[in-house]
Symmetry: C2
Subunit: 337 residues, 2 copies
DNA sequence: AAGATCTGGGTTAACGATTACCCAGACTGT
DNA sequence: ACAGTCTGGGTAATCGTTAACCCAGATCTT
């Protein structure tokens, strides 16, 4: 039950004033080498860490950045959080991750509490697309960076993942291999990313006159639904020879269905996923998929935030990161060709 | 760039003093209905949210709980974080998740910063087992709850996941099905959980005189290593008819290897995992595995923390949650029997 | 009817750290 | 030798909120 050690404790032990301790530890003001050494020693001995609340209240920096994500269980968000934590760490910042469970009210509270007095800056992943909410964000004094916000435009810096190009490339890849019937298992309704992926699939197949509505199945990003939807596709009178799933999990479900039918991937059926989660490269055969440059995105988000913290003007910046196709082992030319 | 609205702004608008606003909003002290209504209205109009830093500094509660985890990418920690966030939310608390990347120094910093002035309480998942570090934790004034700490004993409340029983049950399950050669793919060296799982496997096979060191392969919890290790096992002169993997990811890798050999799960080879990650129930065939009662554990951890926050004596509490076998579709009697 | 009690709200101080400002002594230059 | 500069460090004020006290007027006692 030891009370936390304060700056006064350190000052007492070092035989100086609290101000001198503060100056020493923050490298501000003039301090002699002797005193500096004494202070640092005392701080170390006591295990002193400045109280962030006090620091923040005084207007100084906390070096804490808050990240608000819808949830953490889907590998995508987990990966974004991890990449951001690493980027933050190498920028000398700490990252605290807060989840909203996709509850707009909770998102508002989190943002208010964090920007009000805990964090130096905020990174919002897929913020709720509510004009009023976004307006509040825009007026906030604490720097905010958006990740993958696609709705109502704002002038907040926004780092976006562009699903379209990757999805288009993936579909084209299958077409180029010789597939003429490529099935698509969609993502969740209402997700802008899901919408983009479907649009790209439609465009790519349409360009070659190979668009068949029967080959498009609804989905929800889950593995289970991937399994079912793939079954539906395989049960078609004229089944596809390749399946493009809107997420890796869905693709794994689809692969399960293919194997369950006694067919082989990729010899009988090619499968492509989307996201490049960790399991994609580790499964066997390794999944051909589309990768969001999550690391680059998180790096950029943190660079923008650091910039804003340092007073740079970052308003209006929009960084679009194209997704890219990663060809592994689950795609091959169709049997017939 | 609106400056955050402070309690003084609300006071001014409502025509009262700051203290009255504080009392009203915190339901402390006597306030007339009239005044109360005016204050609440003003606060709402201004969108006032108390500055957590100031509040915390004054010694009042932040309603923020910090959770420190090694990382977030492995589904296990992601799930623990999610369950804790839900439990926190229903206890009226917010949960901020911080990662350490398994860096002890970073863990110490995080804990110091959080307990020093950000969070009301802390939940530490798998804390570094350093006596000195643990001593600091034990002296901390802010309540701390440990999750799955197995090393140096402390009197901090500790909610533990017991891997042993579940792993023993899993092995016995395979043995009861008639398997006489059960392979084991271990977890990462140095993980106490990995050690317990191996110990249980050894005990369970040993009890029936079926322990064969050749059937034990090193692993590291990854899918890739599961694939390789399973190959090694299948290449044995007298290969196992069942494989018990120390994690679900490893089990998936093993299943890949089995299928890659043209064998079927569970007809030719049974596979059991450990953790019951989301993909376990969604894959096909659905994975037989061992589940940690993560939700119960997180609930308990938060209950303990809330209790401590409310002044209850929770020191010394140790809750051991047994892991339990979940039989799904990847286990069956061996071919020969 | 005069003290006691209650009501509703204000005053003051404090939390821990930082910043702006100040000052004593040592050193410089001419 | 005396004003100016530099060095090293201290004092006071401040951030936003709340707990501990206090007090004026209304209401209640007997």
């Amino acid at each position: 039950m030891t009370a936390p050690v304060t700056i006064a404790d350190v000052a007492r032990l070092a035989g100086v004033s609290a101000v001198t301790v503060s100056k020493t530890l923050n490298n501000t003001g003039r301090i002699s080498e002797q005193t500096r050494a004494r202070v640092i020693q005392a701080a170390r001995d006591l295990g002193y860490v400045a109280n962030p609340a006090a620091r923040r209240l005084r207007g100084a920096r906390t070096n804490l950045v808050g990240m608000v994500v819808p949830e953490l269980v889907s590998p995508y968000f987990a990966e974004v959080a991890r990449a951001a934590a690493e980027a933050a760490s190498s920028a000398g910042l700490d990252l605290g991750v807060f989840t909203t469970s996709r509850d707009p009210a909770r998102e508002r509270e989190r943002v208010a509490a964090l920007s009000g007095g805990l964090a130096d800056g905020l990174i919002l992943v897929v913020p709720t697309d509510d004009p009023q909410h976004l307006d509040v964000l825009q007026r906030s004094r604490t720097p905010i960076v958006l990740i993958s916000h696609f709705g109502t435009p704002t002038d907040l810096p926004n780092v976006r993942a562009d699903s379209y190009h990757g999805a288009h490339a993936a579909t084209t890849h299958l077409l180029d291999l010789g597939h003429r019937r490529v099935g698509f298992i969609a993502g969740a309704d209402g997700s802008s990313q899901a919408h983009e992926r479907l649009r790209a699939y439609r465009d790519a197949t349409g360009e070659r006159g190979l668009l068949d509505p029967d080959l498009i199945r609804p989905g929800n990003f889950t593995q289970r639904r991937g399994f079912e939807a793939a079954r539906e596709l395989l049960d078609l009178p004229d089944p596809p020879t390749a399946i493009f799933a809107a997420s890796d999990a869905t693709a794994f479900g689809a692969m399960d269905a293919v194997k369950d039918r006694g067919l082989r991937v990729p010899q009988d059926i090619s499968v492509v996923g989307f996201d490049d989660i960790a399991a994609a490269s580790q499964s066997h055969p390794a999944l051909t998929t589309v990768r969001h440059p999550i690391h680059d995105m998180s790096d950029s988000a943190l660079r923008l935030l650091s910039g804003a913290l340092a007073g740079e003007a970052v308003r209006g910046t929009v960084l679009d990161y194209p997704s890219e196709l990663v060809v592994r082992e689950t795609t091959a030319p169709p049997r017939s060709s």
